[in-house]
Symmetry: C2
Subunit: 308 residues, 2 copies
């Protein structure tokens, strides 16, 4: 029998509505106070950020019950996933995370203990990745069975920030880690946001463009390919995870949260020597001109493209 970690309470006394709003806010404040490095007291209209760096980044992502997670996953991992998805966006820009705010929209039958673990998944990982949760909002909807959380994350860029635009003809197309099968293997909950790699690529001026892989190569790669160029891929060079089912997995499974980026050829060796334990694969090149044959997604592949 599969273990079930439902966000919803079996009896009314276990539900957040039993606390009423003031009690719920008090509980959240208490959970946050247990992580002083990861949060600031939520007791004012605005969270006050004391920062001295000039280039701020901000990103926002929502996590919804039934859509991004279900009863098969523990609350901790749902919370961690929401934070990690936002961190992956900061990584893609080569930034460092600094402060987050969290807004919850949910029905009254969400279970107390479940919600506490959800916060823990966020707060423990705030500590781990060196950021703070500084504010939030809770709102209720009528009915039952609804949970949605929206996290807004701010960060700062260093001397240079990576964007999706910037690739040039001749650049190598590279990817971190392995791709495919993330939903099947559960890696979409456990993935490591590539913050260190993102900062390396930005600060040492190693990448010309960068993004994180959320929807698979087929949907994501076109965003890195400038007008008047196309991508030629070496399908055999695409690094596949153990859970991937052929190279198609890398194109369409999604939720890999690896970095996809372009590198000038003269910088490729330096990149490999500086990226430590993390696997970096060259999977193709940006080539001047448009390819002869179109494909779905507007992505003209150079290699033979097989099964999907």
């Amino acid at each position: 029998m599969k273990k079930v970690f439902s966000p919803f309470a079996a009896v009314p006394a276990d539900s957040v509505s039993d606390w009423r709003e003031s009690g719920l806010l008090r509980e959240i404040a208490r959970w946050m106070a247990a992580f002083p490095k990861a949060s600031a007291a939520i007791d004012d209209d605005c969270a006050l950020l004391e920062v001295s760096r000039e280039r701020r980044l901000v990103t926002v992502d929502s996590l919804i019950y039934g859509r991004h997670f279900d009863d098969a996953v523990e609350a901790y991992w749902a919370g961690r996933k929401l934070l990690a998805r936002n961190l992956s966006d900061i990584a893609a820009d080569g930034g460092q995370p600094s402060d987050a705010v969290l807004a919850l929209v949910m029905s009254g039958d969400v279970a107390k203990g479940w919600l506490k673990d959800f916060y823990r998944g966020i707060l423990e990982n705030c500590v781990r990745y060196g950021l703070r949760l500084v504010g939030g909002d809770v709102a209720s909807v009528a009915g039952t069975g609804f949970f949605s959380a929206t996290l807004t994350l701010t960060g700062f860029g260093g001397t240079r920030v990576l964007r999706r635009s910037g690739a040039r003809a001749g650049d190598f197309i590279c990817v971190s880690g392995t791709l495919g099968g993330s939903l099947k293997s559960g890696r979409h909950f456990r993935f490591e946001p590539r913050l260190a790699l993102g900062r390396l690529l930005a600060e040492e001026n190693l990448a010309t463009a960068c993004m994180d892989l959320t929807d698979g190569l087929a949907k994501d790669l076109p965003a890195l390919v400038p007008a008047g160029t196309h991508a030629e891929l070496d399908l055999a060079a695409i690094p596949l995870s153990a859970a991937a089912e052929g190279v198609g997995s890398a194109f369409s499974d999604g939720e890999d949260y690896e970095l996809l980026f372009t590198v000038a050829p003269e910088n490729f060796e330096r990149l490999l020597s500086r990226s430590g334990d993390l696997k970096i694969s060259k999977i193709g090149s940006i080539v001047a001109g448009t390819a002869s044959a179109g494909t779905p997604f507007g992505l003209p592949f150079g290699g033979g493209f097989e099964h999907f």
Copy 2:
């Protein structure tokens, strides 16, 4: 017959799901491009904020169909309300708004035209209040009839930021505008966030503490009253709106979005001379010691308290 402005489409072709996600994002980008002063292109993982001021503020608020608005209100005013509620938080801190991100969670049957007008309500008022929408996220839920929007707003404080703590025994308790009947009169959609007053109070060092009135005096005022003091109110001095039903309205109706703040007596005349057309009322004082009789909400009233 009452006019109905439902967020939900009568026929599938009018619903956002008819666009699919990529089409929806393209439409949103188009709506935003029509307001270049109010937004930045959403085409990257993070929105890049180019700022040079050091004290950043951030606040987040959600707006939910069936909870904060319904079929009786046009989409424009729902969007404006979401933005204005966040601006009111920035006003309460004496800050200036700078950048916002918006996350939508909704079922596929939200109507195209309705959503466009919702964005217009936000974007037109971004122009009006001098801020930019710089990023966002959309996510769908199964079923029908669901719409929730979460706006995160960043701003900056000047030389001084107002907090809820800071009132001292002897301070006057003041309020802007008039209170009560906001839900009945529709003012909870049309209210003016008190940004100019907030900045005046902060920059000229006129207030010792400040917050915005969202839930009514009974629930909100205790947050301004320091331990070891109490609030003595002059009930006859509380400024009531035309829609208020007696002084009880000011205590419990909520959604006034006026500023509630404390002022040292020696600064009160200067405040009145500097606040222009905006009505400012002294409604009581912070008094040392605890009051003899407790009341619900931990708010010991000095005056006779009548009907609620």
